[in-house]
Symmetry: C2
Subunit: 403 residues, 2 copies
Amino acid sequence: MKEIKGGVCAAKGFKASGVHCGIRKNKTKKDLALIYSEKKAVAACVYTTNLVKGAPITVTKANVSDGYAQAAICNSGNANTCNANGVEIAEKMCSLLSEELGIDKSDVIVASTGVIGQPLDIEPIANGIPSLVKELKTDSGDAAAAIMTTDTVQKCVSYSFEIGGKECRIGGIAKGSGMIHPNMATMLVFVTTDTAISHEMLQKALSEDVKSSFNMVSIDGDTSTNDMVSVMANGLAGNEEITCEGEAFDEFCKALNAVTTHLCRMIAGDGEGATKLLECIVSGADSKQTAVTVSKSVICSSLFKAAMFGADANWGRVLCAIGYSGAAVDVEKIDVSFKSASGEIEVCKNGAGVDFSEEKAKEILVEKEIQVLINLNSGNESATAWGCDLTYDYVKINGDYRT
Amino acid sequence: MKEIKGGVCAAKGFKASGVHCGIRKNKTKKDLALIYSEKKAVAACVYTTNLVKGAPITVTKANVSDGYAQAAICNSGNANTCNANGVEIAEKMCSLLSEELGIDKSDVIVASTGVIGQPLDIEPIANGIPSLVKELKTDSGDAAAAIMTTDTVQKCVSYSFEIGGKECRIGGIAKGSGMIHPNMATMLVFVTTDTAISHEMLQKALSEDVKSSFNMVSIDGDTSTNDMVSVMANGLAGNEEITCEGEAFDEFCKALNAVTTHLCRMIAGDGEGATKLLECIVSGADSKQTAVTVSKSVICSSLFKAAMFGADANWGRVLCAIGYSGAAVDVEKIDVSFKSASGEIEVCKNGAGVDFSEEKAKEILVEKEIQVLINLNSGNESATAWGCDLTYDYVKINGDYRT
């Protein structure tokens, strides 16, 4: 497996585009994205578990219920959520796009991201769709830009890998900066692949993957109303279709996980206001669930996040977050270290502090990517969670998000 | 029932003091507090549920296991948690104090608050205890000051009430500014009363009370390692001892709740970096648990808290937090209003936005105390949760807490 260029256009037969259609006032900001497969693709999605769901989630669920899709449309600037006519608008987005592309309207994945509870006007979208289709090209950049909200960088990745001697490709784009705390579902991510795989196996791969990828990310503990990950697989790689578990399925899952994990790190590192990517690696757990619970509890702690912003090796907050996580751990066995490009330092052994150089700790913690290593010394299970520091800018961005 | 002066010294027979003994470097900051009852008192406590527990919690639990206490000692500046010799130090605090006061060492409630994982030196405490005892007076102020950490105001309240024609008094002091998200237990609060009440009924009253008082407060979602509420009742009011449920017990519970609720509001309003007290009142719930879950979910949402800091009527974040709370609610029945001293405004009806004046909303939200009123329109249960906004100063305070 190797990383390649192309994002969602890396896989054969996929094109993408992004335009400014007028949902956002700022004309330099693209606000409408399209991903299109020249061949109808097998599709799998996972969705937010929030009871307050965006209208596009409802429409997409219905559209992909047959296991197929050929295009994905997504606007930013408005979440189309908690609006009386939301479903009608989302359906209209699908039908307008399908007419322009000459595909079935039930083969459209639709998504929206932005402010909740403001009616979404169909007019700019209707006006934008013709140029959106005209602009389709084998470059992921415009689509990745058009789905951004408070994101500061485009999130795009792709890999090539082999199945049965055939080269396959998989790539994805993501948006996600705030309201990020996926729970058995996830944020806005579009993955494309030319791998031939059955709907059943694609859904299985995705549903399993999100448990260790997107569900392990938290920016702010708020599970969005519009989270969704979709994968479209159009089969153009020409491999023998994957229809059951086995070597080929494992290869595909590995490639899917490379894409999703990469996007997780990008999403966490670009969390609203973030200056650092935090990675909490828990090992030595007696069960997978304990490892997951502990790593997420630490990554979600506001106090830990603020300490990391200040490059303060306040490991007591790590212990505190482990202690209230709800996981049954033996406190007196816990070891904690901080690690980054500048080195590694142990700060807690057997649940109590060890003498360490504050100077060295500072050196490690001023880096942009920090790992918190927690060994529970009680078993062989492990888990990794991703998040970011809590900063002045998070408060600034969210103190007046709507204007 | 009426509010009176005196805090923990309002009840007959209680004295308090606070000194600077040297745990903190800043000599103007008191760091050792004492509350003393001239008569041995019935005592009840509730504690943090964090698995990582401060050593003082362990020692206090053992000391009050017989249902009695006569004094409470508390230091700030060091949590005496995750230290190898923590229990030994906490026990030494009790024995030194008991010698100075001439009481039994098992009648001492001991508490610590401050940084986790730094050894606590007994020397300044040993040196400070004589003057601490000498300074005892019927004024709560010095003790309230000595337990403060990042608190900006002293938290002190007291009430008088009648049981069977006898005037009783109850008062409390609290500290709590960060790491506040009590869970079936609570933060550092000391309540005193001269009501005559059995240990069993006192514990029952307290355990029931915290469910609707301290357990409904969240500053930052972090459940501390050292949370504790203690109540000492010395019986000097002369009422007939309360030994069972009934009118007298109800009167006492009402007074206790007046003290605890008042302290909750003070703790939330003085949350680290806070500029506003937020109160989330959920009504029309189908069960008490639903009301509790929904109100806490909203009060804990970082995005909602940041919006309140910016006086931004971003009600979509309220709906979002209700949706991911885990409570089974009918989204299409939810109404939301914002209320303050400047008026009330409805922003969401039946789960969808209503036209409202942004100008009027701003006027309401710039106030210092904001109520979010959520009607689930599905039943008759209700709950109130307290919190504060998320501000630049929260990040500042916690980016480098240890220095």
